[in-house]
Symmetry: D2
């Protein structure tokens, strides 16, 4: 099925396998007239690149992006933007062994069941490298959103049992710590925890949080295209995510209404909320306050410890996954979650342009 | 925007406001040849009906469904199935007051911001009655899925701090307790808790869990149309849901890979998993084991306790929400979550029919 | 498949069979704030109603439309607009005979092949009554377009060999002649021709032309969502249409470039074209001049003359179609073609709202 | 808007400009397990390549296709197939002049109106080179269709006033004549006609016909997704097409029902039609007989003769289009029309897989 696309107006289509010639994305529906160059995109891609610290895989890939279409004289033209990243560091030999069995926690078995066979090299289409296209499209979305005063910030909230302290929130630390945590002290502890995981041939999960500021009230639609529903889909579609929360998320289920409702009040002549348990979305529509979401990421399934599984011949075997794997996906997935949020937000902003006659009459004034 | 539809092949479009002439749904893409009558649908609608216990609003509406198209000689014809439920118990007078201000926790403010005005009667389009269309479409989906051996069971997992004990799981209790809990003892405690909430003019949140059995491996697509991503969207699009978990959900973020991976093994000549932390989905595709998801529901925002808010004139006021409201949404939302899961599953099953040449050659054999 | 919907932002979903309880349409994505009442829609529906002259079937159906949702205080709310027309004049007995065989020129055989059986009453879903939903949705689209200075006029260009004389074009005649021709003299001749067809138990085809004025330049997209491509689909999706032309249509294939190109020139400070062979669309995008299209309609397939066919048992038989049938579909299809054009135009106008940053910055000005 | 995609299940997304780095297409939703290599696609691309005769532009481009994803071990994997053709022969200098004015018959003016500016090099996105992606996707579709016994044949039916004689139909001549006519004698006359056009600095239009054999009954949907409606859109979305006919097309409007209806009869135990005025489609659904369509193509708008137009400064000027241009688009567009038909057919075939419970039970048998 044509399941490689996302979005209604700002619509992205990713393609590519980890060990084919390359990966990329078509961004269709980007408004014309947005300043854009390859560096805008490369900056984002560099944030998801491996090989940047001892807690990441030692693979080194430039992941240099090429804009193949849709930009002219430094501006988007309204035509589809095709972005290409060539694969340069594939070592297919690493993976030939896994062709024959099903790695626990991976999609090997389900791909075989669905399609009858699979491109087993490096996970093929279910590789983490598929997120290259998402991040490239997210970079463009974030650039467009910035023109409307909307900014996104994602970061690691926790790794295994180590959680940041919101009171120590340090925005600069996100880019400067190997964990992408906005808390240097927590980051140092998380690094130690990950080293311990690696020593025991194991891996860790974690939580990513994303905040979005400057979103005008009115984005998102009331029923199935709720802004939170689309954020949930976009974020849950990232490989290892097993739960998505909006605002106070899972905590609301144990609360009473009097605790959970956000009172409205006036501030500088504008309607604001006194609290933001709702995470900036009411009835599926942005309410003008900060949007907040969290993604729960499972531990890297590829671990060196021996595991029980079966092979394609139906024999029970024990395997120990070799190859280059991060002990935690979370730090590199931070920019992926931020990108998925940006893509969703921009699409909602574009879709909302036709929501009322007043908007349209301004555009189509005679 | 055309945001009232969901699904690719099994595509539903809901319409209607709580205080208009009626509500309904068009189910397009239902395969021809499915036995269907109004009772199949009414049974589901009756599960979401109010007025069935002291912990639910005393409104009594028959919510009788009429099939207007798409069924002939007791079978679906392949044409769109139009379902209509007339509103019979509207008391618009109850709501005239709220036209002028923004109820905390409701979508009044965001609708006004988005559209410039709103149908304020009973929440209009953001009313819980919008779920009538979802449940009617879910009933048909569940009936179709049952023909392939797939069954869904949703229930209340917790209300406020009261959680069921999985060891006491009693399937019959779901339909027999006013809380829709599969644990009569926990249900009794939850009822007491809710009575306490009502006495303090307050409300409660809760958690709904849904299990799906009999799903063949191979449903769902690898990238954006992952089965878990679509389940997350479908369930998050239900009014009061603030978090969605798949399988072990939020717990995976604190785990190690060796704890979280599900080993494969052979059983009766088939590949199975020894555990099911993944909740039946690997890489976005069903793996043949039980699918499990949870929805976290916020407390009913309409409470009698006084709350601070602002009116349309921009004045800060204090309000106490009148009208008929459930102290907890959860028990009535159980069938809604089950319906959203059924709709998503059936669509995935239909979409998957064209996934491989082998399938197609069986259908189009010469 | 979910094939009962059309449009991206202004998205309509029709449902209903000719002999079920009723027919209707959901109009989703209509901008909020458009004045709308049932009369706006009824006026259009009345134009497609049968029983208005001796060259139309003597069935008399009120086809009274009911707005079930999406309108509040006389204005669209942004919510889906559900429209219902109850069937009142079904005589199922008329059709029981055709259950067993395949009418030439009808969809009986193809429905049976596709779905395994069919609702044979009055053609079921392939009945001309399916266009009720189209026309109702077209009425709303036309009303919205009129707010932007866009108007549509469709009329009968020819019936059988009788063609209007463009020099005698009389707009009032469209509504006043039974043929919907804008030429009273040609209409009189066409009526005679149709009476002759009826006397010989036969029927006639014809051509409908539609002109659209006031369309701003810039609507439509460059590749697959070309405005002419979408008009072609919308119009070809009407039952009996076998060809669609844009502008000079089929005539361009015999021309030279120097004859066919439209020169640009200035008029009142605006760019205009000296001729309009292109029919108002260049490269799939409206160019600001009049849009013009034609639909070629086949003769009513239901004729009283005996015809050869086969029955469901595979026996060759001769049949003579009974029941109430128009000798020509064209006059009643005029409003259907106009409606399909309106639906397509409004969708293109809404989609175009997000085409460039300049538009968006006007809407989302800080 | 995301207008660069077409199809529901077999969904293609084209990208690229004539003078950017390259052009391509993503084919998403191709079933897994189809044998495919670059040569399958190159064969089709070579059919649309320029520089093959004296009646075509002397540009010579290899248009070598590279498969970047979606194929493994010589078979499609179910993942998106990304195809890239690098541009190698751009001479941007040729086009700098046209940046400042609007070529008659081209999309220069409408792009400027829609997007505020345009990539003026070689027509940018509205260049005929955009069809490279369509043809590449069509090659894959045609290969898949051939596995179900479906074959497509398109050819030039007429150029200017020169029409083929159906009695002299010679299938081999299509590939062997420079006009792609299946009639060598007519082709020779058409070449002479085109040489005359070139001498007078002019160009010619023409007609392309496409026949599709082996289509099973049942493809296409009854309302908006009619097979003929989708064929009309697909074909009308090709640059220079101004009219689309199905079956006898425009001729039906002057006919009587008794002439136009196709009688059913039995042949070898199967239901067949005695004639095929309908062109293989009844009620939007394939009827098992040959599908036939025609596209009317306008003359190449780029001609050397002087033409009146305006420049971006709003001054009336006279221009003579330089550069390398075919005097007729038709021969090279033959494979484009065939490709669009193949894409539409395959999508209809895939969509139909879920149309009835019987099909699904075969696939999902327990």
């Amino acid at each position: 099925m044509a399941g490689s696309s996302l979005g209604i107006i700002y619509r992205i289509t990713t393609w590519g396998e980890s060990h084919g010639p390359g990966l990329g994305v078509i961004v269709d529906g980007c408004p014309a007239g947005l300043s854009l160059n390859e560096n805008d995109i490369q900056t984002y891609l560099d944030r998801r690149r491996p090989g940047q610290s001892r807690i990441a895989t030692p693979r080194r890939e430039a992941d240099a992006v090429e804009i193949l279409s849709g930009v002219f004289d430094g501006k988007t033209t309204g035509a589809p933007i095709s972005l290409l990243v060539r694969n340069t560091s594939q070592r297919s030999g690493d993976y030939s062994e896994i062709a024959g069995y099903y790695r626990p926690g991976h999609a090997d078995y389900t791909f075989d069941q669905k399609y009858g066979f699979r491109d087993y090299r490096g996970g093929g289409r279910s590789s983490g490298r598929e997120t290259i296209g998402r991040v490239a499209a997210g970079a463009i979305a974030a650039k467009a959103l910035s023109e409307f005063g909307i900014s996104l910030t994602a970061y690691t909230k926790s790794i295994g049992p180590i959680c940041i302290d919101p009171k120590s929130f340090d925005r600069d630390a996100i880019a400067e710590t190997p964990t992408s945590m906005p808390d240097r002290e927590a980051s140092a502890r998380a690094e130690k925890y990950l080293e311990d995981c690696m020593r025991s041939y194991d891996s860790s999960g974690g939580v990513i949080e994303c905040v979005i500021d400057g979103v005008p009230a009115g984005l998102g639609d009331p029923v199935f295209e709720k802004l939170d529903a689309n954020l949930a889909k976009a974020v849950m579609s990232v490989g290892a995510v097993k739960a998505v929360e909006i605002g106070d998320g899972i905590e609301v289920s144990a609360r009473r209404g009097s605790e959970n409702n956000d009172a409205f009040r006036m501030q500088d002549g504008k309607v604001v909320k006194s609290t933001n348990h709702a995470g900036g979305i009411l009835g599926g529509i942005s309410d003008g306050s900060r949007i907040l979401l969290r993604a729960h990421i499972k531990p890297t399934p590829s671990i060196f410890s021996p595991q029980d599984t079966v092979n394609r011949a139906g024999e029970e075997i024990s395997v120990s996954i070799k190859g280059r794997h991060d002990p935690v996906i979370v730090p590199r997935a931070v920019v992926v979650v931020e990108s998925m949020a940006a893509i969703t937000l921009l699409d909602a902003l574009l879709v909302n342009a036709g929501a009322k006659m007043d908007h349209l009459k301004v555009i189509y004034k005679n």
